[in-house]
């Protein structure tokens, strides 16, 4: 059984080795005899070695102290909320080019604020839409009108 550090080391080592293998197909350039693969191989080799070392250290430590486990945190992390927040953000990023900045941002801020603090009263029900509207309008006008940033338009909405 390997622990969290062991898994981290294993992932780092495996990813580095796959990328290392991909560098073997790189062609050498006659102007730079060292070739474009020299430095990536050096870096990936070091990363793979460090990942492997982390795995070994974790295995050895677990053998020495097999019952060792981290103390449970005082408050159990709310990973479900973290996953939902990431999902909401991912949906926002994917919908930006489809719905356009204004619609996607309004929906994300509204949904995000309700997700992080579910509305339980008129004040919170009102806060969400107002915050979403204010954020969308303020950022849109500041960036488009004053800072010359052309924010995404939606291919579905044309807006």
């Amino acid at each position: 059984m390997i622990g969290r550090d062991g898994v981290t080391g294993l992932v780092a080592c495996a990813t580095s080795l796959v990328l290392f293998w991909l560098t073997l197909g790189l062609e050498k350039n006659p102007l730079v005899p060292i070739g474009p693969g020299f430095y990536p191989r050096l870096v990936l080799g070091i990363t793979a070695a460090l990942g492997f070392a982390l795995l070994v250290v974790d295995v050895l430590r677990r053998r020495a102290r097999p019952t060792d486990a981290r103390a449970a945190p005082a408050v159990r992390p709310n990973y479900a909320l973290v996953a939902l927040t990431f999902a909401a953000f991912g949906a926002y990023v994917l919908l930006l080019p489809l719905l356009g900045y204004r619609v996607a941002t309004f929906l994300f801020v509204l949904g995000g604020s309700f997700l992080l603090e579910p509305p339980r009263g008129a004040g919170l029900w009102l806060r969400g839409p107002l915050l979403a509207l204010a954020t969308t309008l303020a950022t849109y006008f500041i960036f488009e009108d004053y800072l010359a940033v052309l924010l995404p338009r939606g291919s579905w909405t044309g807006f």
Binding site: G3, L31, D58, D68, R70, V75, T85, F86, V149
Partner: protein, 508 residues
């Protein structure tokens, strides 16, 4: 030099530069005062607003954020006992007890004036040392630059986090990110994995924004809905009026304390990625060791507040020296400033001062002016900041994430940088969960291309690898890298022996 500095100050008091500086300082002070919103996150939020400005306007705003943020944390640290930023943790030790016994104004203003004096001492070092250090670095060849970057990376990897191995692995992952895309010497595509936007490589600003913003926000989101109180109550009866003459005298009558703790702040600032969080703790520790009454520390003694606050603002000056003389970011805030320079087509490094004299002296002037502005902002806005602390994070976080997206999008006016932001946001949070430090990753991403370019240049000039060791400066820098790794090993072992390092292992 002083003529140039005076010209820069006169230039900067024009409204077009003063306004971004004041806005940046206000944003920094408010961001610094908000527990859970770091200076890095504040500078990330401010970054997209600087894209449409000229370089000096943008850098003045960021310098304001940096100075304001370093001091802003003291407001909540002294009045609420909650450090607004990690760099004001030590301020709470004596600031809050002093405030609790009815001297809230004295506690806060000792911090403000301590920040101002410490910052000015850091400014003297910044202005006096940057030019000579840059001139020294101009003589560097590719061997010396390679060794300098290796030293920076090894120091960061060794000094942050609980595990040396994890620090190095994090730095190595940062270097791996830079080998994706075209090689920097001949522009030949490599490891693009068939993804079109990877051909140009991975831009470091969306990486930095993603890694730091998500690591911070998601770590707070974890605690939401679990009964953890994220809003603070405000004591409306608090009085902040004070005799400024007396407070200033309390500080200047302790010249050794002020100079020594400011020096510690500068020194920590010069070291890459150590930052204000270490500076204030180390300065507090030193102040206690040198005090005739160490037993009074922690009960509301002025020395504790002065030491912590003078060190964390002097640290800003030291950090700016490293980026302006060598092009190596001292911490995440200066890494964002480095990105802002790149966006405006300015190359940082030893030639920065000679090639961009107006911008360089403009940064010096902005740094000096930001300190009195910071004091004025706190004087007029301390009560408002205490109210801002009560802003619910459920409302704050979606807005911050939107600004991160706009900041990433505005870099190239396309979605590819936003996808990079999302991917590295996930990676940043994952790294926090597996206890990999973030600073080495960022430094690896920033320095990767330069490490490769200088290594290839050195080897193409002369294939003899021993030159890295036998050239005096390069050899000295590599020896310093080895020493820093040795020191970090010794430090980790000592901490492990004392049982200070937390046990990392956890079943998956």
């Amino acid at each position: 030099m002083y003529g140039l500095l005076w010209d820069a100050i006169v230039n900067l008091v024009q409204l077009k530069y003063l306004l971004p500086l004041v806005i940046g300082t206000v944003a920094g002070v408010v961001g610094g005062a908000l527990p859970g919103v770091t200076i890095t996150m504040t500078v990330i939020i401010v970054l997209p607003f600087t894209f449409g400005l000229d370089p000096l306007q943008g850098l003045a705003a960021m310098t304001g954020v940096y100075v304001g943020g370093s001091a802003g944390g003291l407001v909540t640290a002294t009045l609420l006992g909650i450090p607004g930023t990690p760099s004001s943790v030590a301020t709470t030790f004596d600031g809050f007890p002093m405030a609790k016994r009815g001297e809230a104004g004295r506690a806060m203003w000792l911090g403000v004036w301590g920040s101002l004096f410490g910052g000015m001492i850091g400014g003297v070092f910044l202005i006096a040392a940057t030019g000579p250090l840059a001139e020294f670095a101009v003589a560097f060849g590719p061997w010396e630059f390679f060794s300098l970057f290796v030293l920076a990376l090894s120091m960061v990897a060794g000094l942050v986090g609980h595990s040396l191995l994890k620090g190095f692995l994090s730095g190595a992952i940062g270097l791996v990110v830079t080998v994706l895309g075209n090689d920097p010497v001949m522009g030949q595509p490599r490891l693009t994995l068939g993804i079109e936007f990877l051909e140009g490589g991975v831009p470091f600003l969306p990486v930095l924004i993603g890694v730091f913003a998500f690591a911070q926000i998601m770590s707070d989101v974890e605690k939401m809905g679990r009964g953890v109180r994220l809003r603070e109550s405000l004591d409306r009866a608090i009085t902040l009026s004070v005799s400024h003459g007396k407070v200033v005298w309390e500080i200047v009558s302790r010249p050794f304390l002020l100079l020594w703790t400011s020096f510690i702040g500068v020194l920590i600032g010069v070291l890459p990625a150590v930052g204000g969080s270490a500076a204030n703790m180390m300065a507090y520790d030193q102040a206690k060791k040198f005090s005739r009454h160490p037993e009074r520390f922690g009960t509301g003694t002025p020395e504790g507040i002065i030491a912590s606050e003078s060190a964390n603002n002097a640290n800003v000056g030291g950090s700016l020296v490293t980026i302006m003389a060598f092009g190596i970011p001292g911490d995440a805030v200066t890494a964002v400033m480095l990105g802002a320079l790149t966006i405006h087509g300015i190359q940082s490094g030893p030639l920065f001062i000679s090639q961009n004299t107006q911008v360089a002296y403009g940064i010096f002037a902005a740094y000096l002016l930001a300190h009195p502005i910071m004091a004025l902002v706190i004087a007029f806005g301390a009560r408002f900041m205490l109210r801002v602390v009560t802003v619910p994070k459920a409302a704050l976080f979606p807005v911050v994430l939107v600004l991160c997206v706009v900041g990433a999008y505005a870099l190239g006016n396309n979605m590819s940088t936003v996808y990079v932001l999302l991917i590295f946001g996930l990676l940043g949070y994952a790294m926090v969960k597996v206890d990999l430090p973030l600073a080495p990753l960022i430094l690896g991403v920033i320095l990767g291309d330069q490490i490769e370019t200088n290594l290839i240049r050195a080897l193409m000039t002369d294939g003899d690898l021993w030159l890295f060791v036998t050239r005096p400066i390069s050899g000295g820098l590599l020896a310093a890298s080895a020493l820093s790794v040795g020191f970090a090993l010794w430090q980790h072992r000592r901490q492990h022996g004392r049982g200070e390092a937390g046990e990392d292992a956890q079943d998956f």
